[in-house]
């Protein structure tokens, strides 16, 4: 195969340069994939939420509590199924270097509400039975080296004092968007220890038909409008979106930077590839002399550009995918479910293709159209 040995010879004629070109393409695409994944992860978090779950918060501000007595009133309402509630605990563990969210929940109803949090049956039973029991995300086992059955003590910030919990079980999220580094414990335990004020941070309830969401939300808010703690009800998705949009312009920023990065490195790389093709004018003239057709030479130069960008793309995009998957990266809990999506891989491949065309076509055309006489003369 004359064609392939020529291709190989071309790639290896300056190993250093071929390596550098491939490496810079790989780096550009790696960075592109990483930055875009930040954007897609935030977007996925904003999209997450069952259309059948609604969240009720205090309309004055989500940090203000609601009376826990609302649970019964919600359950009694038409169209509302399971009702559960949770409180933000805000405790510190150890030196507080690694933050994680802790929630006081009503165990049975909360786990029933979130089938996405899978817990082994025996651990679930143990959690239900033990009033000071806690259910933790599987990532926390690795982060702190905890074991099931172990006792841990947190310092409360909102609810002062030392709080000791026994780890009864570990949950595994079946949907990557759910944080795998949270801690759940009994709402009863919290309520009892702080003197039974009977407060819930927010309620979550399930409705039978998603179409009813707007109507039921309004009914709930009307019901509590004139009470001391009026409510704001919306879909779980809107609730999550309000947190995701708190990242503000970070997504826009990441996109802009990502594009600038890719563009910058590709400019430089395309230039280097074109220059390396140009200095081979004489070789191409020789090939023409010994009978290579114009089309053949065009293909040869394009194939070289294609091979270099393809290897770079596979390394960069594949590297990003494997790295984040392999290290289970989630930015210390801020970006759960950080995974390079297929669309990112496709767009990345598209960029590689564009790079191949941008850097390959000019020299390939030049090679194909090169008049032998001028080419040979121009060298010496």
């Amino acid at each position: 195969m004359k064609f392939f040995s020529l291709l190989k010879a071309n790639l290896f004629r300056s190993r250093k340069r071929t390596f550098l070109t491939i490496a810079s393409v790989a780096l550009a695409l790696f960075l592109f994939a990483s930055l875009r994944t930040v954007v897609t992860t935030i977007a996925a978090a904003a999209q997450f939420g069952s259309a059948r779950r609604l969240v009720v918060t205090n309309s004055t501000g989500f940090v203000l509590p609601l009376p826990v007595a609302y649970a019964n009133r919600l359950e009694a309402m038409e169209g509302i199924g399971t009702v559960t509630w949770a409180n933000w605990f805000g405790g510190k563990y150890g030196d507080n270097k690694r933050f994680f969210g802790q929630f006081a929940v009503d165990p049975e109803s909360y786990l029933a509400m979130y089938p996405e949090m899978s817990v082994p049956a025996d651990q679930k039973e143990a959690f239900f039975r033990d009033r000071s029991g806690a259910l933790i995300g599987k990532r926390l086992l690795d982060v702190f080296g905890w074991k099931v059955g172990q006792s841990i003590t947190l310092q409360g910030t909102i609810f002062p004092g030392d709080w000791t919990f026994t780890i009864s079980g570990v949950y595994t999220p079946t949907d990557a968007v759910i944080n795998d580094d949270m801690m759940l414990f009994h709402w009863e335990y919290l309520d009892e220890k702080i003197g039974r004020p009977g407060i819930a941070g927010w309620y979550i309830f399930e409705i039978d038909r998603p179409e009813d969401a707007a109507r039921i939300s309004k009914a709930v808010d009307d019901q509590f409008r004139s009470s001391p703690a009026p409510t704001k009800t919306g879909t779980e998705q809107a609730f999550n979106a309000s947190f995701a949009t708190m990242w503000g312009n970070i997504s826009l920023l990441m996109n802009t930077i990502g594009m600038a990065v890719v563009f910058a490195i590709l400019l430089v790389t395309a230039n280097a590839m074109m220059m390396s093709a140009r200095e081979r004018t004489r070789e191409i003239a020789v090939l023409k002399t010994i009978g290579f057709s114009d089309r053949r030479l065009f293909t040869l130069v394009m194939a070289e550009a294609g091979l270099v960008t393809m290897i770079g793309a596979v390394l960069g995009l594949g590297g990003a995918k494997l790295l984040y998957k392999g290290t289970n990266f989630n930015a210390a809990g801020f970006l759960p479910g950080f995974d390079v999506t297929t669309s990112t891989l496709l767009i990345g491949s598209g960029i590689a293709l564009a790079l191949m065309l941008a850097s390959g076509i000019a020299p390939a055309l030049r090679a194909a159209r090169l008049p032998v006489v001028t080419a040979l003369r121009s060298v010496e």
């Binding site: 780096l27 501000g61 910030t157 909102i158 002062p160 990065v261 220059m275």
Partner: protein, 387 residues
């Protein structure tokens, strides 16, 4: 003998497309580099200027931010009676017990989502306790009415923020009576109302923090000991400046790590590109190099000349990069301060120091990128090169 720099300039001009592409590549890297640092810088400035060295912030023991803290009225009076608290011109202590709540506000741009904005109840002494406050429009709110003063960063980002208009908090209208600035501090992203009005609609008879001016700025340690040692109080005292510096730590370090990570990967890519370009430049000019050698220029001069050429491209790129990034200076962006779950707005801040850093960064990329190709040029043998 040195090769005149004119030679390099002519070489660059002789291949305008290639020079432009390389310079533009480096320009973008430098622009992103400066832009990211300007962002981190703006954020740091916003939170650093928030706290004053001379003020003490008191929170409930164990609470690490205002949101999780709570201080009752009795404790507030005890704190105000301490001798370490500076007295105002009228003899009253310069102390501001404050209510801190995060409330949802509809955005102007996207009405389907809410931003969480800080609503701070303050005492009428706050304008003296915090020295960097300045009311730029309107008058101070009246404690007897539902009136608020808005930080300037809220204006234009949320509806009905003009003086004379009214925003809705807790289901009732509050008249906007003034706008204030605070030297770029995060207070500029907050809504301030008077305690007398804010407290009843929010958390009941509890303040979240107490801030006071030290009578003697150097006597912080004494004040801290006295407050924390008092049997009647369960509080932690810290300098206001230290508190806000700590609040910015998390996001600040995220921004800095991002800046370093992204730009170092970019820089490596750009250096690879520069190396490649210079290798190609050296290869295509081998006969020129041979002529130079024949003319009697020493290999060292050739190496210096090629390095200078690479540095020159990078420097041009650096200057273009600075020009590209300059317009972002002052643009207001916002993100969440996760320590308080509230939105904080801040501006990109480009300083001359950052521009200089960017130029040096470009120069380093150029020199690193030019080194090996320049060495190759210098090592060429006349016979081989001229062939």
């Amino acid at each position: 003998m040195k090769i005149p720099i004119v030679y390099n300039i002519r070489s660059l001009l002789g291949r305008p497309l290639s020079t432009a592409l390389t310079a533009l590549g480096i320009a973008l890297v430098v622009a992103v580099f400066i832009g990211m640092l300007a962002l981190a810088n703006g954020f740091a400035v916003a939170l650093k200027t928030t706290g004053s060295e001379e003020n003490v912030l008191v929170l409930r023991k164990g609470a690490d931010n205002e949101m999780s803290s709570g201080i009752d009225r009795a404790s507030t009076s005890i704190i105000a009676s301490f001798p370490h608290v500076k007295q105002g011109a009228d003899g009253a202590p310069l102390v501001s017990p404050e209510v801190y709540v995060v409330i949802p506000m509809g955005r102007i741009t996207d009405t389907t989502t809410y931003a969480n904005v800080v609503l701070r109840g303050v005492s009428d002494k706050v304008w003296d306790v915090r020295a960097n406050l300045q009311i730029i429009d309107g008058r101070r709110p009246d404690a007897a009415k539902n009136e608020v003063c808005l930080g300037t960063k809220l204006i234009g980002r949320f509806p009905r923020t003009g003086v004379g208009e009214a925003i809705t908090i807790a289901g009732r209208p509050w008249e906007v009576v003034c706008h204030f600035t605070a030297d770029g501090a995060s207070f500029e992203s907050e809504i301030w109302g008077m305690n007398e009005q804010v407290m009843p609609v929010m958390r009941g008879q509890v303040f979240q923090s107490v801030t006071f001016r030290l009578a003697d700025a150097g006597a912080f340690d004494e004040a801290k000991r006295a407050l924390e040692g008092d049997q009647r109080l369960q509080v932690d005292a810290q300098r206001e400046s230290v508190f806000y510096a700590k609040q910015s730590e998390l996001l600040g370090s995220i921004l800095n790590i991002l800046a370093i990570l992204i730009t170092s990967i970019m820089a490596v890519g750009a250096i690879f590109g520069a190396v490649n370009t210079m290798y190609a430049a050296v290869a295509s000019r081998s006969s020129e190099i041979a002529v130079l050698l024949t003319l009697g220029f020493r290999p060292v001069s050739i190496m210096v000349s090629f390095l200078a050429e690479s540095a020159l491209i990078a420097l041009i790129g650096g200057v273009i990069g600075c020009l590209i990034v300059l317009p972002v200076n002052g643009i207001v962006t916002s993100t969440t301060n996760w320590a308080s779950f509230s939105e904080i707005a801040f501006s990109f801040r480009i300083t001359p120091g950052l521009l200089l850093t960017g130029l040096i960064f470009a120069l380093v990329m150029g020199v690193l990128g030019g080194f090996f190709p320049a060495r190759r040029a210098a090592k060429m043998l006349v016979v081989q090169a001229i062939r």
